[in-house]
């Protein structure tokens, strides 16, 4: 059987969910200062889907125009950054970490290298190889017991009854 080509995903709280029926072969990271500040990270990770191959299966993102023709979508309820798009374009660039299975989407190219962190080259070699469970078992268990993160698959109803006040 071949690998499924559809990719579902959404925000942390699950109020906004999407299905990309297939993806373009352009997964990348961008180090530019606008992408950095938009997601407050060292770099952004994105992959595009043609607009007509993208289905919003629950809710809708709120958009901020970071420049005249660039809209950045996020969940107004939990803040997860979900995409960026050019208003003249026919593609939406989804954030890879929002996918239910981000490991299926490896970035192959880096852009905006004027903003690259000096320590980026040594990311893989940073000290610390403990999992959350190993490093902090009681905290991991407590978080798991009251976790409000949407599961990494589509759900018929969300949130489960009584879960979110």
């Amino acid at each position: 059987m071949s690998e499924p080509t559809a990719f579902s995903g959404g925000c942390q709280c699950g109020a906004v969910r999407f299905c990309a029926h297939d993806l373009n072969d352009d997964a990348h990271i961008c180090h530019c200062r606008m992408c950095q500040k938009a997601v407050a990270n060292a770099f952004i990770s994105l992959v595009s889907v043609d607009t007509d191959r993208l289905e919003w299966t629950r809710g809708a993102a709120t958009e901020f125009f970071s420049s005249a023709k660039t809209a950045r979508g996020f969940c107004a309820r939990c803040g997860t950054p979900l995409y960026m798009r050019d208003t003249d374009g026919t593609k939406v660039f989804l954030t890879i970490g929002a996918f239910d299975e981000p490991d299926r989407v490896p970035p192959r190219r880096q852009v905006g290298n004027e903003g690259r962190r000096a320590w980026f080259a040594s990311l893989h070699a940073l000290p610390g190889n403990a999992t959350t469970e190993e490093a902090w078992p009681e905290g991991a268990a407590a978080i798991k017991a009251s976790n409000r993160q949407h599961p990494d698959h589509d759900t018929e109803f969300w949130p489960p009854e009584g879960r979110i006040e």
Binding site: Q12, M34, A40, A42, F74, T95, Q110, F120, H124, K144
Partner: protein, 163 residues
């Protein structure tokens, strides 16, 4: 006397649109990345980069983050206007973990360790080795100029009025 748990780095920062701004008079000596699935999904990214700021060293100088409680313990702050990830705070803790890219001069902040490695994205093993497509200016000068001329991003310094 120097405090081994403290980085003497003073810096402002905030979200992309500038509606929420903060000032840290010192950082904690714990700049790190977290690969855990909750940090990934909260930010839509491969990992989070964060550094602690003690409550006595942190002032929200404009606006305030909106909080989503990703569990009963964790408050995740973001800008309600532009969505920038800003902070992570354990209820009752005396410090906040601030998202590193929100600082105005993030290149001044080192990185010391990684956590949550159960969620490490396989691409992290050689992310530095993927194809280098150059700078924004070199790859797309017209696009870079168009964006620069209409950028709604808050500048990387404090402002008296904004926008």
């Amino acid at each position: 006397m120097s405090d081994p748990d403290r980085l003497d780095i003073e810096m402002s920062g905030g979200c992309q649109c500038g509606a929420v701004r903060f000032h840290a008079s010192a950082l904690m000596a714990n700049p790190h990345i977290c690969h855990c699935r909750m940090c990934q999904k909260a930010t839509g990214q491969l990992m989070v980069a964060a550094v602690g700021v003690r409550e006595e060293h942190l002032v929200w100088t404009r606006g305030a983050p909106t909080i989503f409680m990703s569990s009963d313990y964790a408050e995740r702050g973001f800008c309600p206007h532009c969505g920038t990830t800003l902070s992570f705070h354990f209820k009752g803790a005396r410090h906040w973990a601030m998202a590193m890219g929100a600082f105005d001069e993030p290149w001044r902040i080192p990185i010391h360790f990684q956590i949550g490695t159960e969620g490490r994205h396989p691409a992290l093993a050689d992310l530095n080795g993927i194809r280098d497509a150059g700078t924004t200016e070199a790859a797309d000068p017209a696009g870079a100029e168009r964006i620069r001329l209409s950028s709604h991003q808050h500048p990387d310094h404090d402002t008296e009025f904004w926008p």
